[in-house]
């Protein structure tokens, strides 16, 4: 916006500055993660698999893993999910980045476990959380957001929740932009983040920022609603394509079902376990 003042008189210079500006804007919006979520979904081999099968399989697998206590059995579950991630084609770095967010929590749980119940339980809890988190991350990384939403709708999640989830997801990025602009403005005025709970000015700034985000977004929500109405929105999500379970979906579901059943059976001692 400010290029008028910097490049007074030079059209080409102004153009260059404008391009710089748009490039910067792209950078910024990427930094705030517009496409982050669905970025790897399309590249993955599991992208076009039925979202209902993916969701149901993951839920079942995670439930099975929650019941496991034996390290040897947990090892096979972990190996299965790591192999599946490898096959899916999702970059390992992407999964690792997301896993790193949960890692301090796992470390804390495992460390306290180490001192209260011994190294075996500590390893078991770390493996159990890791396996479940990886299974969930795999599902998220291979399923586009709208597919997840349709699966939820199919599983009879109330329409109010589905509509709210859809709108909220959309608005998160709108508000992130808003927040990013305000963060930049805050920073340029010399705001550093504050040191402790006693920092009165820092808290005043944070409260006012959040308050302002609500005020701005309230106005924006009104506009968005009007825009939706004029496009014929009636409160129901309609999609062009129909969900369909194909052979490969059945294979994937069956793989998950049989493995989960086997894991639980060996944990319960029904299947003789040789290790």
């Amino acid at each position: 916006m400010g290029f008028h003042f910097q490049y007074r008189g030079s059209y080409r210079g102004a153009c260059r500055a404008w391009h710089l500006n748009t490039r910067l804007k792209e950078r910024l919006s990427m930094a705030f993660g517009h496409d982050e979520i669905d970025k790897y979904a399309k590249a993955s081999r599991f992208y076009s698999f039925d979202p209902r099968v993916k969701l149901a399989s993951t839920i079942m697998f995670v439930i099975a893993v929650a019941l496991l206590r034996d390290i040897a059995i947990l090892f096979w579950a972990l190996l299965f999910i790591v192999l599946l991630i490898e096959v899916s084609g999702v970059p390992l770095l992407h999964i690792a980045e997301n896993y790193a967010i949960v890692f301090p929590f796992i470390l804390f749980a495992a460390l306290t476990m180490l001192f209260t119940s011994g190294p075996e339980s500590a390893l078991a809890i770390a493996m159990r959380i890791t396996t479940s988190v990886l299974a969930l991350l795999l599902m998220i990384a291979t399923t586009p957001f709208f597919d997840t939403l349709r699966a939820l709708r199919w599983f009879k999640v109330p329409p109010l929740i589905c509509n709210l989830v859809m709108f909220t997801y959309r608005f998160i990025f709108v508000l992130l932009d808003e927040m990013g602009r305000m963060r930049l403005a805050r920073k340029s005025r010399g705001f550093t983040g504050g040191r402790s709970l006693l920092d009165k000015e820092a808290f005043k700034t944070i409260s006012y920022t959040i308050g302002m985000v609500f005020v701005r977004s309230n106005v924006r929500a009104g506009k968005i609603y009007d825009a939706l109405l004029s496009r014929g929105y009636s409160g129901e999500i309609k999609t062009l394509t129909l969900l369909k379970v194909r052979a490969r979906d059945a294979v994937m579901g069956l793989l998950y079902v049989s493995l989960s059943a086997y894991l639980i059976a060996s944990q319960l001692g029904v299947v003789p376990w040789t290790s």
Binding site: V62, F108, A109, I125, S132, I161, F167, R170, A202, G211
Partner: protein
Amino acid sequence: MHIPDGLMDPTVLVIGWLIALPVVAYAIYKVSKTIDEKAVPFMAVLAAGIFIAQMLNFPVGGGTTGHLIGATLACILLGFYGSVVVMTVILVIQCLVFGDGGLTALGLNLLNMAVIAPIATAAVLWALKGRRQYTATFTASWLAVFLAATACALQLAFSYDLSGGDYGIEGVIVIPSMMAWHALIGIGEGIITTGIVAFLSKVSPESLKMQIGRKDEVDTGGKEVAA
């Protein structure tokens, strides 16, 4: 405080679902019956706002930071049922889109942050009957955070005892540390929520009147809060 999968004893997970689901279902029923369609985008904006407010860290001291839960803010802006629904939506998105909090543990996360926290807020607001706006907001936010964290600690301790040391974290360690830590974080939540309410009542008092799910109270509730 988002519990991942695999940490809790399966029995505790089932209990969490059994308590949380009826409350959430009733809140959804109540809200879908009373709101008009136009309110859905507004609720979603609030949900997105709280989602983002949760990402904004505030300083606690010693180089560490905490972040908002936002249940109190939702409860003040939308009323009890509205806040349960909004917190549910936030937790569902965090679980299914960002992998924050587990699938099987969603029941417990719902119980702590979408049921206990709004109930604590509503109880404080009800006890003070709309008087002493800022004191009520601060107390409600602190209590909501503190009780939610305490519930989480108790669930961890209960898992540990129930499974004989295979799940959860031992109570002697987790209960005092979670309670002390979140007593501090609660102060931050209290200051910020009070600040937001003060800001909104100055800049945009009409946004404090969106009492979804308890339409009969709209007029009086709005006036008292804004006064």
